[in-house]
């Protein structure tokens, strides 16, 4: 059975801008929801004096602001800050808070490389590709991998390939898919590589690569069917407007 929660904190007139994903937040509950669903993005861009000021000025919560300020000025962890905030907003009950606390603890206990990868994954899901690239690269060079080996590295390469492909940087995408396939010998990764080759160099090179990687006949037919199933998009009625929209979306994803 569902429930309804009483909102006890007024909505803000001026939003808090979540820099990581370029999102305006207008209420304590929105921030609570964002945090709960994007724990890996909780960093110094949220746990900061700027947010404390916003809580005081816009959410009209001077007592909570003072509490958060005191946490920031002591030997604090991001977990302390987040839990103090969520507890006061009444967005979650004690059981949910306890579960979240455990998730925060588990995340904190993970090696730095894993935390960076999770952060990059989340940013990629939000379409923030340039930022995702940064954290994937940091994860690759991080010395704290906690014993994670080639599979972990291959996954990051694969994800880097995906990010570059979404940015239409096919040269880089092909390179990372190739590196990913070296670490993870799965058909899924190979398919990503081959499709990116198709998009970058055309069908002829794609066929050469099929031979080069020894793709069997059954898999070739399956890949061909998949390529054939891709539908050509309809030409928009207002091309200029669509172009503007696509450009804006691209810029948003690249922070340009």
């Amino acid at each position: 059975m569902g429930i309804a929660i009483l909102c006890q904190i007024p909505r803000a007139e001026k939003p808090w801008f979540l820099e990581n994903i370029g999102l305006n937040i207008y209420s304590a509950e929105e921030l609570g929801y964002f945090i709960c669903n994007n724990l890996s993005l909780v960093d110094e861009s949220i746990v900061c004096e700027g947010l404390v000021e916003w809580v005081k000025a816009e959410l009209k919560q001077p007592r909570l602001a003072l509490k958060l300020h005191q946490i920031l000025n002591g030997p604090y962890t991001e977990r302390d800050f987040i839990l103090a905030f969520l507890k006061e907003t009444s967005y979650m009950n004690s059981k949910e808070l306890a579960a979240l606390d455990q998730q925060l603890q588990e995340l904190t206990d993970k090696p730095q490389a894993v935390r960076l990868k999770k952060k990059a994954d989340t940013l990629m899901n939000h379409g923030k590709y340039n930022r995702a690239l940064k954290y994937y690269q940091e994860a690759l060079v991080s010395e704290d991998k906690g014993g994670h080996g080639t599979q972990f590295r291959g996954t990051i390469y694969n994800n880097l390939g995906c990010v570059y492909a979404r940015l239409f940087l096919m040269e880089e995408a092909c390179e990372y898919f190739r590196l990913a396939y070296e670490d993870i010998h799965t058909l899924s990764v190979l398919k990503s590589y081959l499709f990116s080759i198709f998009m970058k160099d055309g069908e002829k090179v794609y066929r050469q690569k099929l031979d080069e990687f020894g793709v069997d006949e059954k898999s070739r037919i399956k890949l061909a069917e998949e390529i054939a199933s891709v539908q050509m998009p309809d030409m928009p009625e207002n091309l200029d407007a669509s172009l503007e929209q696509w450009t804006a979306a691209y810029h948003k994803s690249t922070d340009l």
Partner: protein
Amino acid sequence: MDIKNMIIGIDMNRDGSQICYYDKETGDAVSVPVKAGTELLTFPTLLCVVPADHSWYYGIEARYFAEKKNGFLIDQLYDLCADGTSLWVEGKEYTGAELLAIFLEKVLGMVGVTRPSQQVACLMITVPKLTRYFVKAIREAYAYLGIARNRGYLQDYKESFFVHTMFQKQDVWARKNGLFEFRNGQVHFSELELNFRTKPVTAYVTDKGSAPLQGNSEQKDQSLLSFIRKSLGEDLYSGIFLLGDEFDQSWARESVKALCKGQRKVFGGSNLYAKGATYSAKEKVEERHLKGFLYVGSDLVRYNISMELQVQGVMTVYPLIAAGVNWYETAVDIEIILDQMESLTFLVSRMNEKARKKLVMELPGLPKRPGKTTRLKVHMEYEAAGRCRIDVEDLGFGEMFPSSGLIWREMMEDQG
């Protein structure tokens, strides 16, 4: 500098109006005469605007300027407010509320109030009967004058009668009280009864009928006497109030004798409602003289309305509207967040009863969103006695889940 020390009551009806203020030195409500040095308390409920210089006048002056200076006379101010209509005055449309604000601004000048927002601690307007439109007009007029909701009030005549009586000595209201009101050639009788067996003590004012008063003095006296006997019967009354300029002891000798029987205390005057309004205003801001009494008028909300909500992480029956206040004093706004819910359930219980009924409000078309990402604004307000309006607006959830713009409305009718 804000002084906010004036406690004021205004009686306004279709024909005439009065103003009273609370005198802290004497501890009583004082009526302000229309002209200094006279005993005339009632001025006509009129407004007049003189087009030449766009100056406004009220009361007696309004009539003078309309007749002598070609002013535009507004003699339906009361009806404009009661019906929610507007009026074109010299090429401009005015709502009843706008005209009422001008009228009140002028009337408040009688007690030296020139800056209502800064000088009025509490203002109570009393009218014969409150309609939804009248409530709206008075509220809007208060807003125009800068009088905040917790300083501007309204009540009907019956409640003013109740409060006026309760501010008399206790032996006056120990038993029933009667009010004979003389207007338009008629006498009207209403009765105030207190039930001391309930807690709080409940008070009821009931209309008991009217009779014409015509003919010469003797005939009028006989008509009134007959009406008094019929109205009072064998019941015990501790106080009788005679209201209106149309009553005069000179023609009512036999009637007065009948009224004074049985050690009843009899009072006469023309300012009972204005004084009652002033006492109510005082009650609102300074005193809790009526604590322990509940006036059960036709405007009283008799149902509690609540919702089961998660508050501070704990499921709680959260009160929205509490029974025991007048319908026009009820307005509540809350915002809630739904978690796996597609409708709202209100819990309704009768005053002083524990049993609750459920009223489910469906929200058709509410977008499907993840749990805890639908924020709704719930506004509840009684539109009239016994009829509560519930408006629910989908606020969405910021930029993550924009509002659908949908608004739902439900009317909740009291069940008797």
